[in-house]
Symmetry: C2
Subunit: 365 residues, 2 copies
DNA sequence: AGGTATTCTGAAAACGATTTCATTCTACGC
DNA sequence: GCGTAGAATGAAATCGTTTTCAGAATACCT
């Protein structure tokens, strides 16, 4: 619906800013000197430096980044690719990355991949309108199909990059990841306290993270004799609706688990809503555990337990590894960050809860 | 916590892509012709056009955007400034804007302002590492302080821009906004069915949107004799926690309203959690209404009512107005988009609910 | 004082495209 | 057959920087 209130208008002059030449002229120096004032102030005497600065101020001089990038051969902008900005964890990561990168004097171009593999490949092409200088890939999805891997390798030939997530075997770029398998195992273990019918909500085609988390679930599930055939619930997407729909359908089919382990918090919330609408009690009837430890978990009812992982740490390590490449310093090919388990109302923590080694407690249903 | 798994590694060659000169040479034409093949294909004969294309393919030619931008005088990247990407509505808007802009062959640079006025001003400076060609401002916050307004005017001297939100008087750029005052009025009216103690959760310093919504609330509240002094609850921030804290404190002070109208959905959820932890029933004891109609509202318990506004419409209109400036076509200085009221479990819709004109129903408490 | 570092500066050549202007070639009308 | 309009192309200038190289000025040391 569109109400149009109006008033017409036309044209608009576009005005030029002063160039380095004009500054040089006004300051009575060469453009080389002005350039030095900008890039290597130490090389120019204090007197001229000040004079030039004054003139720059007067003329509202702004460096033309296109010209600089052209001459220099590269821009000063890191492109950050995030799986999906509707997932709050990625927004957290983005902010952390941005802070780290801007602290180093570079700009950030953030791209929301919307879980679309083709937009990943497109973003990696230097083809675009931008002048990227390096990449941070936090795609969540699998990178191991041939096309995608090739696109990354190609991008890495001309620019440094770092991946947060999946490590490609023999990849020459640094990878930062979390202990997903391990903590999925522990989370599942902790859920098994309530009974052996622990459902896994995940397994989205092409998702690397989902696969890792499934592994951990399976390891724990198999140790306790869970009927994984029955309790692994694949879903087509990873939003609230997907979790809600999947669980609703299973319950309607008469499948009520003792607990649900979801690969992200959105799914966990969707699942919890489905349970509640069916009159089931959380965690009394069904416990629920998410992944990501998103902010909203503390404000929904019941509050939801989740596996945490520090976006800030990930960003710090990733950017450091990126800069190591810029500066030809050595870097770690793989950094693995630890996670934490945060219990809230939706689960009943058992002895082996957080950091302690899991106790095998093979409760029968 | 940081486990370091390792393996050292050094260096990395950076390889150059082919330039237009090499393409021209390989195809036996001048660079002018190659450029024409790229930008004005009609001007070159079919035969050479094909030949050049083939060579470009062979040599993996990629246009150097810096060089093009330098020569052309501007880039092909629209910078989109969003108030905060932790607010899902802005993510929706971002995606819609991106789709519109990319459909026109331009790139998008999205900036998360994190509600920081200084980062707005910084982003408007051509100073940055980018080559913006135009701006879309969706800041939510007030633009009417002198510094900010100046920064916008200045940016607009060299580039087209469009604002989604506040209209600055006499501003020469197009503004797109929603009927916030009107629908806040209607939302409040609808809440007044439950009693006259309707609280307003908002009034964040410097927020334009909050101010508009407060106006609507006040209009409705005053019509019904609400003690606005008592029920306007200012808050310092606009996240879940802020809503939770404010409501918790008021309840502890013994102030329990009949309904709460929050200026966004995050606050509404925080508020609802606070109510529930105090054993209050929603909407039985207290009704809750948010603003933004974010996706999660359908999956929290109880589901939350909210005022909706189409991000897609806003994006379409905004980008159209931007392009009108590029192409020197006339455009509307102000476009006002309508909203909708979506009732869910957290409110009891009354007769004057949705689209119908409000009925004055002065219920006493 | 004389030689040698050291500091500071400028001239000029890139970087890779776009665009103006002029030129060549083809085709058409009379 | 000749003049001319139109199509297709190329040469060269230009955008605003960075950077190399060399030269001038100043300082230091014995």
């Amino acid at each position: 619906m569109l109400e149009q209130t109006s008033s017409m208008k036309a044209k608009g002059r576009r005005q030029q800013d002063a160039s380095i030449t004009e500054v040089a002229q006004a300051a009575g120096v060469s453009i080389a000197t002005v350039s030095r004032v900008i890039n290597q102030p130490d090389l120019v005497s204090a007197a001229t430096r000040e004079r030039v600065h004054a003139v720059m101020e007067d003329l509202h001089y702004r460096l033309n980044p296109a010209a600089a990038a052209l001459r220099r051969g590269h821009g000063k902008t890191i492109t950050v690719l995030a799986a999906s900005l509707t997932q709050p964890w990625y927004t957290k990561l983005m902010r952390a990355l941005k802070a780290e990168i801007e602290a180093r004097g570079f700009g950030v171009m953030q791209v929301d991949l919307e879980h679309d593999p083709s937009s990943l490949r497109k973003a990696l092409l230097p083809n675009s309108q931008q002048l990227p200088t390096g990449f941070v890939l936090a795609t969540g999805d699998s990178l191991s199909d041939i096309e995608t891997e090739l696109a990354i390798r190609q991008a890495h030939e001309s620019q440094p990059l770092v991946v947060i997530g999946q490590q490609i075997p023999d990849a020459p770029w640094p990878t930062v990841q979390f202990t997903d398998e391990e903590w999925s195992y522990r989370a599942t273990k902790s859920l098994l306290g309530a009974g052996t019918n622990v459902a896994f909500l995940g397994r989205i085609a092409g998702s690397y993270l989902s696969a890792e988390r499934l592994k951990g679930y399976l390891r724990a599930a198999n140790e306790s004799g869970v009927d994984t055939e029955r309790w692994v619930w694949p879903i087509p997407s990873r939003d609230f609706a997907s979790g809600f729909d999947a669980v609703t359908q299973r319950i309607n089919d008469g499948e009520v688990p003792n607990a649900i382990f979801a690969i992200n918090d959105e799914l966990a919330l969707g699942a919890s809503r489905a349970l509640l609408t069916h009159g089931l009690n959380i965690p009394g009837d069904v416990a629920v555990m998410g992944f990501g430890n998103t902010e909203f978990l503390d404000y929904v009812t019941p509050t939801l337990s989740s596996v945490d992982g520090s976006a800030i740490d990930a960003a710090r390590v990733a950017v450091e590894a990126l800069w190591a490449q810029f500066e030809d310093r050595p870097f770690d090919l793989l950094t693995v960050l630890d996670r934490t388990l945060v219990h809230r109302e939706s689960t009943v923590p058992i002895a082996d809860g957080d950091h302690k080694p899991p106790i095998h407690k093979n409760t029968k249903e």
